[in-house]
Symmetry: C2
Subunit: 329 residues, 2 copies
């Protein structure tokens, strides 16, 4: 079958609400810096009422990755669930506007589009409080088999392990991808999510996942160790390719027993790390879909991540394709 | 009576949808660069579908001015009309978050909050297409007499000359302000708006306005001349204070027959001129409310305008009070 897409990404369709915040504010609100916490309506109303003036921009981990793939010149599609409201329109518009596509489902009732309240501290770290809304109601019916079958890589956002229906959508997508001999990629998304679903995640990785993305906190949480090296030893061979990001220390790509060290791309000033991992995945997956070496894939990931942390907002503001060309990638 | 506010601003409560665009895009869409055009639902849907990925941020001319006054340490309040929807919540939240207040009305029906589709070209100019929505339905009942009476200066956004009910809200506010011996300020907002309402505007300025803000295009449109000097000659004495902005050439403040030339504050790179006039008004009005000289007021206006044009978005991103202190103002 001909493939139409480099990447089909399944994740929470989320609009970000991004505001500057102080470390004291995080402490006062009981927020753990750098984490993602799920919040309910009442918590969202309360937190939002105390946050600074914000900008709204399409986000969601997988959505950001789709934007990165599109910015690199790739063909990407997002599968998630949106509310029939203004933020839902914003998310779908932004997908089309970047040359990608929203191919997920829309609520039939008044459940609002999910949003992520992001407090960015002066050190550029983002602390996320997510009201899932419609995103949590993604189910198998929202996954279009034809879309999955038409994608070289199906990319799954680990956050979707939280809602039950979304995990079923996940399983459906994985089954379809497997049946069509597509690659399955998973990102662990968040160390607290890993903690909540450790056994299920391990089983899913061992049986279904070809390409695993994680950061240091997530991979050490998965294998319940404080040692990065021990975690790498533990994950080795569990997926064909494992890419672990380490912030300014670059990334480590493990495959067939070989460990590749990839340097981070230099940046002048880190403004907002929101979306760094998502963009790393975008560069890596685009490289893989286009048949490049793992080193090349890792360097594309570093390049994409470096762009997004120099400004507010989780998606590229300039053409990543142009940046990659300029960098000889 | 004690005044609670430096400025009470009446204007269109609008959320901006800001995206980069090329000059070719403006031409293809039939948009006049630098202008503000009113559009209907169908036009908004059509234009938005072709715009690039955008960010959403609270805007509206008077709203931006309120944000500037608050950033300078002043007490300001906004009177407009919002829909009971997500963008309405965003606008009201952002007002509170900057230490100001939304004191206008909310729709009882499903009319959506107004939005302004802003296409920013590489030269930093913004071209605005506004769907007024709820903002157009601001009426006298939304103007709280106690708020007007508690403000040193009532600031009116010229855009409100377009909808009939808003003009009646205007007239009510002007009457209340006059009765309480408050100052009345008006901004002309847009040269096409001036063209649509020239006689009414002239009459309003002659009878009600103490402080008039305009840019070059607006003041020459008002007096139907190509000559800036002729326009200044024509407006002289029609309001106690007339402040006309001239972009990089600074501004001219006319009072009692004396013309003050105010220099623009230098900026390294103009990114997005959205909100420049609004911030000039903020600096000027704050200075006036705090009893400073007109030169001082003009320099505060230049300082506030210079900050906002160095980044995307129509409101200050750093404390204008700190900037003013650093500049010795």
């Amino acid at each position: 079958m001909t493939t139409l897409y480099d990447v089909a990404a399944i994740g929470n369709a989320i609009v970000d609400v991004i505001a500057p915040a102080s470390d004291d504010f995080l402490a006062d609100e009981g927020l753990v810096k750098g984490s993602m916490a799920l919040i309910d309506d009442a918590q969202a109303t309360s937190l939002y009422s105390r946050m600074a003036a914000a900008i709204e921009a399409s986000g969601g981990s997988a959505g950001n990755t789709v934007a990165g793939v599109a910015s690199l010149g790739g063909r990407a599609v997002h599968i998630g669930k949106l509310g029939r409201d203004q933020l839902g329109d914003v998310f779908a518009h932004d997908m089309e506007a970047i040359g990608a596509r929203f191919a997920g489902g829309w609520m039939q009732d008044a459940t609002p589009t999910g949003r992520c309240l992001i407090n960015v501290t002066p050190d550029g770290q983002r602390t996320m409080s997510t009201l899932l809304g419609a995103a949590a109601l993604l189910g198998p019916a929202d996954v279009d088999a034809a879309v999955i079958e038409a994608a070289k890589i199906v990319y799954l956002e680990g956050y979707l392990f939280d809602p039950d229906e979304a995990r079923r959508a996940f399983a459906k997508a994985a089954g379809l991808a497997r049946a069509s001999a597509r690659l399955i990629a998973l990102t662990l998304s968040d160390s607290f999510m890993v903690d909540r679903h450790r056994p299920a995640l391990k089983g899913f990785i061992d049986t279904e996942v070809d390409i695993l993305f994680a950061n240091e906190a997530e991979i050490t949480s998965l294998y319940e160790t404080d040692s990065f090296d021990a975690a790498i030893e533990a994950v080795r061979g569990r997926a064909s390719i494992v890419a672990v990001t380490r912030g300014a220390d670059g990334s480590v790509v493990v495959t067939d027993g070989v460990i590749h060290q990839i340097e981070a791309s230099p940046v002048e000033k880190v403004v907002d790390t929101t979306g760094a991992g998502d963009q790393y995945a975008a560069g890596f997956l685009f490289g893989l879909a286009r048949g490049h070496s793992l080193d090349h894939c890792g360097r594309l990931g570093s390049l994409a991540a470096a762009e997004v942390i120099t400004h507010y907002g989780p998606r590229p503001q300039v053409s990543l394709r142009d940046l990659a060309t300029a960098a000889g990638l």
